[in-house]
Symmetry: C2
Subunit: 366 residues, 2 copies
């Protein structure tokens, strides 16, 4: 198929530093190319891809010091629109701006929703363009969306199976990985570790917006002999960090739309102890890849149980459900569904009263 | 003509409180309706207009506490696009988002640029959509824009002649009106008044972003017996405040694209002492409606000269150059130019290599 992937310009594809959705776009794009598809990637000029790269900006906008990213995206989206006839399907990862531009070819487009959908400010777009095809990254992510949203699938993220290789070692520590921020609840992680009398290693960055929270709330808790703060780590260090842990703590306090770090841990064979929030019950298989908890006490009780899980079985669930191959299979099925609808001539009207709703929900368990 | 006016949704039209461009949209819309044109105003639902109002949001977004205004604008612009066949011309006051959506009908659209054009973040849009018709609000505003921008006119703002009526009284004070902010240089105004030994009245609001500047830099200067700070005033108070002054001080330190307050003063017969910056040399007629200065000393010297100017002559220049009637005449000429180009079939291509450049520059002097 002739596929356009339209990435956000804020970071390179893959990102030079942090950037969850940008990594997903990269993994999907490379997998589609490796399967022989004709993929064009609209992304920042410093992106690294085996697809045909069409630069929408010289470099990733954030690291280039550009504060307002709208103009660059509008210019790129106009480029995509002018070239729309070259593609069987156009896959957006760009949040909001594409909807009014691509209404005339809506049935050949699909947007992956990478963020939370409960922000009222964005509601007018969710309602107005509800008929345009969308993919959710978990079923739970859909909850706040308008009832008539044209979901064409829930597709969980996936990445290459060899990215974080299986580690048979049962480490003697718990791991917290990601960002120090109030909704990630590193304070809960520390409390759990201390009550469980197990060492905790925290590998996390602190964004400027979270600096005060870090200084006032978290830093004073880092003095405990069981707690070690090792700062931000890169992809290579991540594998060893996760693989060496007996469990990942994911004590989140918000409606996480997916939570990449959970499947990163599973890839290494490391189980996950996670709060029942957002995508967690879909991603974690209770008693097999980890435990879903709702209190500090439940989390503390889960620590020895997680350490006793079969790490090979955790890895096998990852391989079944969360590889890039699996993700690409599902996106290709969505693309084919759109393409078929188009070539059958069903979806050529501008705004069908009853938009085709090609539902392809992921089986909740493998 | 069938005219769509597309307003920003951030404030009602006219705005409940502050909002320069929103007032201009209101004045223009009412004048076009009064001349018998079929005007549709896309704006917030709490707008007050004699045109046909199509609400793009329930109320103005800022006072409704909505932080991210993009989604509401995208939904409104989609509405406008679906109804594009109903209008001879579509006039945007909405900054950036309309360009990629309206490329297919670009020759029937015009955008008034209400802000500064020197921000690098917006450059990709200025370049990509340079062929789409634009109006500048001063010639000086155009300077940073790409050379191939399709300017179809410079049209100075204007408002109803009876809004701030002529006042023959020569007041005994200097006036500073607007915002307390570093680029407006209230500190210069205070220094000028003290050196000229003339009282200064400051009627200005302090935005949250300027609170520290106000507290640290300006408040300590307000103790001087010649200086009186009277806070924010409304439209009704403005007439008396400006009409009672011997001169308006406008000692700005930035490239002001237009500067409504200068013509508000002129409407009342009050001359303007302004720094040579941005639109100032186009708006102020040296020695007739005020004085253009480049230093505190020049400004101090201008104070008695301004007080000696003929206030009726100042008002006459306002009536010749800056009424809403004058502004509407020029916009209608632009609309007719677009319409003519369209009906002659010249401008039906998507992106002409040589876009029609209908230049209608304002004569610099009446």
């Amino acid at each position: 198929m002739r596929i356009a992937q339209v990435a956000p310009l804020s970071e390179a594809i893959p990102p030079k530093l942090y950037g969850g959705s940008e990594r997903v776009v990269s993994w999907l794009t490379e997998e589609l190319v490796s399967r022989g598809h004709d993929v064009t990637l609209f992304a920042s000029g410093d992106s690294d891809t085996s697809a045909t790269l069409v630069p929408g900006s010289k470099t990733g906008l954030r690291l280039a010091g550009i504060n307002d990213h709208i103009a660059s995206h509008l210019a790129m989206l106009s480029d995509v629109y002018h070239r729309r006839a070259e593609f069987d399907v156009i896959h957006f990862h760009t949040d909001l701006l594409q909807y009014p531009i691509f209404e005339s070819v809506a049935p050949r487009t699909v947007t992956t929703m990478h963020g939370r959908l409960d922000l009222l400010d964005y509601r007018p777009v969710y309602e107005k363009f509800a008929y345009m095809p969308r993919v959710s990254i978990s079923d739970s992510q859909r909850r706040p969306a308008p009832a008539d949203t044209n979901w064409v699938g829930t597709i969980y993220h996936g990445f290459p199976a060899d990215l974080y290789p299986f580690s048979a070692t049962k480490g003697g520590y718990l791991a917290f990985l990601g960002r120090i921020s109030p909704e990630k609840r590193p304070d809960r992680a520390i409390e759990i570790a201390i009550k469980a009398s197990v060492p905790l290693k925290i590998a996390a960055k602190v964004d400027r917006v979270d600096q005060a929270y870090f200084e006032e709330r978290i830093k004073p808790m880092l003095d405990h002999p069981l707690v070690e703060y090792i700062g931000e780590i890169d992809d290579r260090q991540k594998g060893a960090f996760l693989g060496g842990a007996s469990a990942l703590l994911f004590p989140i306090d918000w409606q996480e739309p997916f939570g990449l770090v959970m499947i990163e841990a599973m890839s290494a064979g490391t189980p996950v102890i996670a709060w029942r929030n957002g995508s967690v019950p879909e991603v974690v298989t209770e008693g097999k890849t980890g435990f879903i908890v709702e209190s500090i006490e439940e989390a503390v009780a889960a620590v020895p149980k997680a350490a006793a899980l079969n790490r090979r079985a955790v890895r096998r669930v990852f391989e079944d459900r969360f590889t890039v191959g699996r993700m690409a299979d599902r996106y290709l099925a969505v693309y084919q569904g759109l393409h078929k609808t188009m070539t059958n001539g069903h979806a050529v009207t501008r705004k069908p009263q009853h938009a085709p709703n090609i539902t392809m929900s992921e089986p909740s368990m493998p």
